[in-house]
């Protein structure tokens, strides 16, 4: 009735405690490799020289020379959100102009719903309809095939320069973890 492992366990009375900052440190090591685009996906290989930018709401945008941008959420945000169950896509807003900061989508998990804001001014030209059947792409490849909206960026958007580059965003994530 009683297995050996049972006795083995009950003789040890101490539990190991990992300090909280240590856990954050471990998470960060894992995250170091996750601040970049999936190079095998359209968000990266749409052109030869995409520029990657981030917002303090944990959205990313890959900006291509012809003014096309792909928008999604970062690996960090995807981890924090958990299993995505539904992505509300702005399908009726295709062709419409939107402003930086406007809600363009919502990502839902079992426990929460989070709004996604456009990082730039521009015109929505496509939504990632694969997310309708596979919301899990938000978790498996948030910075690649889990992109949400394709946008034609307004070149005159004065806030474009306010977006973070990868180093600034890394620092931002590190600081927000403490």
């Amino acid at each position: 009735m009683f297995t050996r492992s049972f006795f083995k366990l009950t003789t040890s009375t101490t539990t190991t405690t990992i300090p909280k900052n240590r856990i954050n440190f471990i998470n960060l090591i894992r995250l170091q490799s996750t601040f970049k685009l999936n190079n095998n996906s359209i968000v990266s290989n749409y052109s030869k020289s995409p520029i990657l930018k981030f917002t303090n709401e944990h959205e990313w945008i890959s900006i291509h020379p012809d003014g096309t941008g792909f928008i999604g959420i970062t690996n960090y945000a995807s981890d924090a959100l958990g299993d995505a169950t539904f992505i509300e896509l702005p399908i009726q807003q295709i062709g419409e102009e939107i402003k930086n900061g406007e809600t363009i989508s919502s990502v839902e998990s079992v426990k929460s719903a989070s709004d996604i804001y456009s990082p730039v001014d521009g015109k929505i030209i496509e939504v990632n309809e694969k997310l309708d059947d596979s919301p899990d792409l938000i978790n498996s490849d948030p910075m690649g095939d889990g992109w949400i909206v394709k946008i034609k960026i307004d070149n005159n958007d004065p806030t474009l320069n306010d977006l973070m580059d990868v180093d600034s965003y890394k620092t931002f994530v590190e600081n927000s973890d403490h």
Partner: protein
Amino acid sequence: MLRSSIKYTTNLKTFSKSTIKCYSTEVSEENLLKTPLFDSHVALGATMVPFAGYSMPVLYKDQTHIQSHNWTRKNCGIFDVSHMLQHKINGPNTTKFLEKITPTDFHALKPYQNHLSVLLNKNGGVIDDTIITKHADDSFYIVTNAGCREKDIAFIKEELKNFPGGEQINHENFDGTLLAIQGPKSQEILSKFTTSNLKDLYFGNSRFIDLQGFNTDEKFHVSRGGYTGEDGFEISIPNNKVGVEFFNALLEYDEIVKPIGLAARDSLRLEAGMCLYGHELNDDVTPIEASLNWLVSKSRRGDSSTANFNGASKIIEQINNPKSVSYKRVGLTSKGPSPRHGNKIFSAEDPSKQVGIVCSGSPSPSAGGNVAQVFLDKPYNKTGTKVKVEIRGKLRDAEVAKMPFYPTSYYKSP
């Protein structure tokens, strides 16, 4: 995007300010209480969140919310519920006292049987929901919600003061490790640790059992039931050294057992159609409005000699004259964006007319689609009625549905 779009609305009178306050007590992180298993949770890589004044695990490392949820439905999940408030109450006329503050017939209960009940205020509103176990005539074990700790203690104290002979009733609270063992493999696991034959311990019953291998002769209170809709047990271990060792020993059976956090606890109970205080229940909602008529024992619906609990006149009137009840708690199902706590519900025919509010809602890992528990005005509460839920500024289709959303699997006596 991590700004949550879920906002708490307090527009309907059913969401009283006192309720919101009860669950949003601002406690700075260093002042949070810790359960005896706090260090174990941290060692397991749990994400700890403030809940009802405690630092509690919401999710454990290497499990997603949905994995935790499904694991409990298929195997065995261990939940730390030590934050909940445990009471002992005994002395002359304790039964009579409990029948003043709840609508339950405790004379009819046999020793070591328990019943879900509600503590009632004088208006028939629910102060808290609770499981009350009879140990002997005039001796009971009670578990209430952590979020209502101070309110419940003050309420019981005040009621005892006003109860004739109340000074002879002994009421005390005690701490310790309280674990919920939930899922179809719960009996298989718990049987590995006790000589007690759990096969004849049925849902709604409890007993004191031994735990082998922890150098103790103490016996521990275990009741069959839980808060997931699955078979399972809740075990109270006042000796924290034993509690921590037992928790860790359970987790050794890692092919069957996983620790499960608050996230899955909420989605599991929601699917099972169970109420969460502060969402489906509050000081202004009666058990009838909450569709908990069955909590008012049949033997306590008569004249003033039996229907003599707090708020009885209102509650009995609501039972006898259903038209006097303006809204009920019902289930709702939908596809697409999920209804969430506080979303307003509108009539499908007249979308300018608000007819209800969402108490709790989320995508359902076990049933598929979205499920919600809501308060709906009559006659919109009928199963199959189509309504609209306002989610992020848009009206979305939903339909009134029967609860539970996922079938319960209790271990009931034949």
